[in-house]
């Protein structure tokens, strides 16, 4: 695996720490405001307790004296609560935005084959469900924990004033809670991990089914696909029930475990009152405070469940980050002028993971301006050569030079800017035809696009559409036939105008009437360019400067069309079959 993707760099920096710290001022402000709010409320309750005591002592309470400070507290509390809430949720929202942004950026830099490792469904689930979970962590769990901690600390001081003994009782119950919470949360996390994997599966099936709708519809696959999906959904529900079983048990234990020390404290308080050490009023104030401290303590301990559950989501998002990026190093631009050899391969080998070798000992030397073709049976590695040239996959052995520079020294971006690639499966983005042809290149004039389309023999068709070049294509928008898509891909490659043209079956889906035109167009544009064609149809490459014949991953024959025919080898055999078939 490593040898296949030798050119990638490892990114193990923890994204969440970095972002979490960058935006921590919001969180700190939140805690500060929460502490103030807490203080305001405690002050309020203190005032009440004081007043209560007064009442109990049979003294008169001047209500007007109380009103003013309390009204001030209400006003302050309202404002502080607004600020606190804003800080907390902005922190979460901004963190989500930054994480989504960083992850999306990361996706763009991943090596070609990353989706083989994590399916599209999995990535979409991570961006949606896991992100929601993480959002919940930042907006509820984390601030909750921190605020509870602050509360515990601040309230503890009041207790210290009251009686140290109470603190001792309260905190004795801590270890028990910790052990229980730890055990439960670990089990919960295991279930949640499984649950999330099932969600990935569900999204993947949905994505798969919608992409394959044509096959699904024409083969009446609805019952089969529905069953596949239902099974995944049911499993999610089942896992959800399991996690409920554990988390609800945790709540019960939390409630019981936090109540026992409370009762102990009350009884202790009672004992203190009976022995006359504190007043009933003090005990009441203490009642209020106890409520304010005991639940935070239970929450802090049992939020381990939430933290571990969110932890699963974090780990899954981090999993995207840990997918190794394509290396960025290497020269950023190539000097294409001087080199006398455009592409040079020496003894290149290639295999996908653990599989048998696709390419064995392939050597190529391609000079500027040459037109070179690769032929051979299906699955013999012709398209693989193009993928290696583009750096989609890494050769396992051998030497690859582009314009005289070693492959390892060129950045993938610079490497790919040398190629215009027309692949077998044309992917169109859900954008206008114009955008699809320009394909991100800056400052492309309409003239350039029109000329490319004329050359690719698609201009007239585009003009026949009601909205012309502004017609939307791709996922939503008009359906184009295979031939039309292919010609748009050719126009796209022409607009890119790179020194090397890679054509993988450029005329496969094109009928014979159009093929001639495209052939002509290709001849026109390939002037002064180096062209590599993978072809099934030998008729299309008859005029190539050199033809490589691939057999079982090796170059079995090479030469010009006539030379190869004269050899009466594999090529001649292939040619004979085609001539026979098309005759």
């Amino acid at each position: 695996m490593d040898d296949r993707r030798a050119g990638v760099v490892r990114e193990s920096q923890n994204l969440f720490w970095r972002l979490g710290i960058t935006y921590s001022p919001l969180l700190i402000l939140y805690i500060l405001l929460a502490a103030i709010l807490n203080q305001v409320i405690i002050q309020g309750n203190d005032t009440i307790a004081g007043a209560m005591d007064e009442v109990l002592m049979g003294r008169q309470v001047v209500f007007r004296d109380l009103m003013l400070p309390l009204c001030g507290m209400v006003l302050a509390g309202t404002l502080v609560a607004y600020g606190k809430s804003i800080c907390g949720s902005y922190y979460s929202v901004i963190m989500q935005r930054e994480m989504r942004g960083t992850l999306a950026e990361h996706l763009l830099q991943l090596p070609f084959c990353y989706l083989d490792e994590k399916g599209a469904g999995s990535i979409m689930t991570r961006f949606s469900s896991d992100m929601e979970e993480v959002g919940r962590f930042f907006s509820e769990v984390l601030p909750g924990v921190l605020v509870n901690l602050v509360t515990i600390l601040s309230v503890t001081f009041y207790f210290l004033e009251l009686d140290r003994m109470l603190i001792v009782i309260l905190f004795l119950s801590y270890p028990v809670m910790l052990i229980v919470a730890d055990k439960m949360s670990k089990r919960l996390a295991a279930i949640v991990t499984h649950y999330r994997t099932k969600m990935d599966e569900r999204t993947q099936i949905a994505y798969d089914s919608i992409q394959g709708i044509v096959v699904g519809r024409s083969y009446n696959l609805y019952p089969v696909i529905k069953r596949r999906m239902d099974a995944a959904i049911d499993e999610i529900a089942e896992n959800g029930c399991k996690s409920t079983r554990i988390s609800s048990m945790a709540w019960v234990l939390k409630s019981v475990l936090t109540t026992i020390p409370v009762i102990a404290c009350y009884l202790f308080g009672l004992f203190e009152v009976i022995s006359g050490r504190i007043t009933v009023g003090e005990m009441l104030a203490f009642t209020v405070l106890l409520g304010r401290i005991i639940y935070p303590i239970g929450d802090v301990v049992f939020c381990m469940n939430d933290i571990r559950t969110s932890g699963v989501a974090f780990k899954r998002l981090q999993g995207i980050c840990e997918l190794e990026r394509e290396r960025k190093c290497g020269v950023a631009s190539l000097d294409i002028g001087g080199a006398d050899t455009v592409i040079c391969w020496e003894n290149v080998h290639f295999s996908y993971e653990k599989e048998q070798e696709i390419l064995k000992d392939v050597s190529l030397r391609i000079k500027p301006g040459e037109t070179v073709a690769f032929v051979g049976g299906s699955g013999e590695g012709k398209s693989t050569i193009l993928r290696l040239l583009l750096g989609f996959y890494e050769k396992t052995q051998g030497e690859y030079r582009l314009f005289g520079k070693r492959y390892e020294e060129i950045s993938p971006g610079a490497l790919r800017s040398c190629f215009s690639y027309v692949s077998q499966n044309v992917f169109l983005l859900p954008k206008s035809i114009f955008d699809n042809i320009v394909c991100g290149k800056e400052d492309v004039s309409m003239d350039v696009v029109v000329n490319a389309c004329k050359a690719a023999n698609i201009h007239e068709y585009i003009m026949s559409l009601p909205e012309g070049y502004d017609t939307m294509v791709g996922e939503r928008g008009i359906k184009l036939s295979g031939g039309e898509r292919q010609r748009i891909a050719i126009a796209r490659a022409l607009v890119k105008d790179a020194p090397i043209l890679l054509l993988d079956e450029p005329t496969a889906a094109v009928d014979t009437f159009t093929e001639g035109g495209i052939q002509q167009a290709l001849n026109n544009v390939s002037k002064g360019k180096t062209v590599l064609i993978v072809a099934h149809r030998l008729s299309t490459i008859r005029h190539a400067d050199r033809i490589y014949v691939l057999d079982k991953g090796r170059i079995a024959e090479m030469g010009k069309h006539e030379e190869l025919l004269a050899r009466e080898g594999i090529y001649a055999g292939l040619y004979g079959k085609e001539a026979g078939a098309d005759a």
Partner: protein, 552 residues
């Protein structure tokens, strides 16, 4: 008024999804609420017992009393848990049902839907909207009804301690809920717009995921990245707007919390001064009121939150109301009497009012013949195949396939279709091929049949060379398989289908000569005595046909 009615119905519709299990779900909510309330009451009783003892300085039998109360406390905690499990399990079932409905719906639209809508839109509905809507089942409804129920439960002991004081406190709380209900509308609006933004974001993400090859070979990655960033920012802004509204809501909550404490103090002092309540009673009420206050402010908080999720329910409801593909396009039950296998008469067709692709097109294909459809690229050959498969209704004219019943599915059953771009599902090659056989589940198809079909399609040999053979799962883009290999698996699937009509849309275009010849030979064998329609541009394919029909 009408809209109000819909809103109400929407809620009942949503709850109705649970069907017969709804009473069980509601029972669970009641049990958990009751359990929680009883637990809190037991807690308050314990406090009251001890404080009264402190006040009266009489401590006889207090341990026994507290012990009994604590026992009830634990008991009600377990009732609480039983209720939680009950409604959660039913809730999860409800969400599963909703997801199944959404998915089933997404599979049954007319084909034009898939062209007009981005797949990201549906995925977002399936994973985002159902999750949010499911929150209603999972927590929001429970919280709200728990709040209402326990508020009622708290009122009883509070009332028994002091009717006047409780009445005053209730009045204040009701006022706070009324004020909070002004947040319902904006919250719902935000919920809806947030869902739309989330859909956009998923679409942008889908483009990045689907366009890997383009991103690597063209400078489009920057553009797609920017589009995602824009969608991301818009979603974030929407979230921020939501935050501001809920912050306002929260500050109202806080204001009410403090105000109600203040009012409680005032009232308490006043009532105690007039000896209307004892201090013990006041303490007990205060303990209860502490929770009651929260519970009531919860109503004010959860009502708008639930309405936010109702926005997602509404989106799903609208989605589920969209029109599905018709069972059949013809009104009258047409039984074909002609001997032709396929008849098309005076077909006129255009994609949603665009350029007319087929105009007054007619053809008849005799049973058992091999026909090639030829014509320039874009002349409507592939469209003919889609019309034959019933993907679209023709604008005029009629299509009859011999032996079809009165549904589109019955017609499709008669056709083995090999599309231009072969699609392989993310399941094993064996299962992909087994999908060809209709009416049985893939695992019921004998392996021999699958292998036989693969051999006929000239796919067996290369499949056996794969490390995992027939159990290989083709990659996301089928990267490990070449175009020709994928095409041959698709052909094997069609071979296994064994339908009377073979429909091949440029099925051999991605194949090299050698496999093409083998496939053509295979087709020759398979097609014998079968009606075969080939959309073709290769002379070698056309040569196989007994008849050539020029389209366009």
């Amino acid at each position: 008024m009408h809209k109000e009615g819909k809103k109400k119905n929407l809620f009942f519709w949503f709850m109705g999804l649970m069907g017969k299990r709804l009473p069980l779900y509601l029972l669970g909510i009641m049990a958990s609420t009751l359990g929680m309330a009883l637990r809190n009451i037991a807690n308050a009783e314990i406090v009251e017992t001890i404080v009264s003892a402190a006040q009266s300085k009489v401590v006889d039998g207090i341990c026994m009393q507290v012990g009994v109360e604590f026992f009830f406390f634990v008991l009600s905690a377990f009732l609480w848990r039983a209720g939680i499990m009950q409604y959660n399990i039913e809730g999860k079932r409800g969400i599963a049902k909703l997801e199944k409905l959404v998915f089933s719906k997404a599979m049954r639209f007319p084909m034009s839907y898939y062209e007009e809508h981005h797949s990201g839109d549906f995925i977002s509905k399936l994973i985002y909207d159902t999750e949010r809507a499911g929150d209603i089942y999972g927590s929001r409804l429970r919280r709200l009804s728990a709040a209402v129920l326990s508020a009622l439960l708290y009122l009883i002991p509070m009332y028994s301690y002091s009717p006047q004081l409780t009445g005053c406190l209730l009045l204040i709380s009701i006022l706070s809920v009324i004020v909070n209900s002004i947040f319902i509308k904006p919250m719902k609006g935000i919920g809806k717009r947030l869902a739309v933004q989330n859909g956009r974001m998923t679409e942008a993400l889908t483009n990045i995921l689907g366009g890997t090859e383009l991103i690597k070979t063209f400078p489009i990655g920057r553009v797609l990245g920017m589009e995602y960033r824009t969608a991301n920012k818009a979603a974030c802004d929407m979230q921020k707007e939501g935050s501001r509204v809920s912050a306002l809501l929260e500050s109202f909550q806080c204001m009410f919390e403090l105000l109600s404490a203040l009012i409680f103090l005032g009232l308490g002092v006043w009532f105690v001064a007039r000896k209307l309540v004892t201090l013990g009673e006041l303490t007990a009420i205060y303990t209860l009121y502490g929770t009651f206050r929260y519970v009531f402010s919860d109503i004010g908080k959860y009502l708008p939150q639930m309405m936010e999720c109702m926005a997602n329910v509404e989106r799903l409801y609208d989605f589920l109301q969209l029109e599905e593909e018709a069972e059949s396009y013809t009104v009258e039950n047409m039984v074909s009497t002609c001997e032709d296998a396929v008849v098309m008469e005076n077909i006129r067709f255009s994609y949603s009012g665009d350029r007319v692709i087929l105009k007054d097109f007619s053809m008849g294909i005799k049973s058992g013949t091999c026909v090639a459809l030829v014509g320039e690229s874009g002349c409507g050959k592939s469209t003919l195949a889609k019309l034959l498969l019933g993907f679209y209704p023709p604008e005029a004219g009629r299509i009859v396939v011999a032996g079809e019943g009165d549904t589109l599915a019955s017609r499709r059953k008669l056709i083995s279709y090999v599309p231009q771009e072969p699609y392989l599902y993310g399941v094993s090659i064996a299962e992909n091929i087994a999908y060809g056989r209709e009416g049985v589940f893939p695992e019921q198809v004998p392996m021999e049949d699958i292998i036989r079909a693969a051999k006929k399609a000239n796919a067996h040999d290369f499949i056996m060379k794969l490390p995992e053979g027939y159990q290989t799962v083709p990659g996301e883009r089928g990267n490990t398989l070449s175009g020709g290999e994928r095409q041959r698996i698709a052909i094997a699937r069609a071979v296994l289908r064994d339908a009377p009509i073979f429909l091949l849309d440029e099925a051999t275009s991605a194949l090299d000569n050698e496999s093409e010849q083998l496939i053509n030979q295979a087709l020759d064998r398979v097609c014998e005595g079968r009606t075969t329609i080939m959309i073709a541009h290769r002379p070698s394919t056309i040569a196989m046909a007994e008849e050539v029909i020029v389209v366009g």
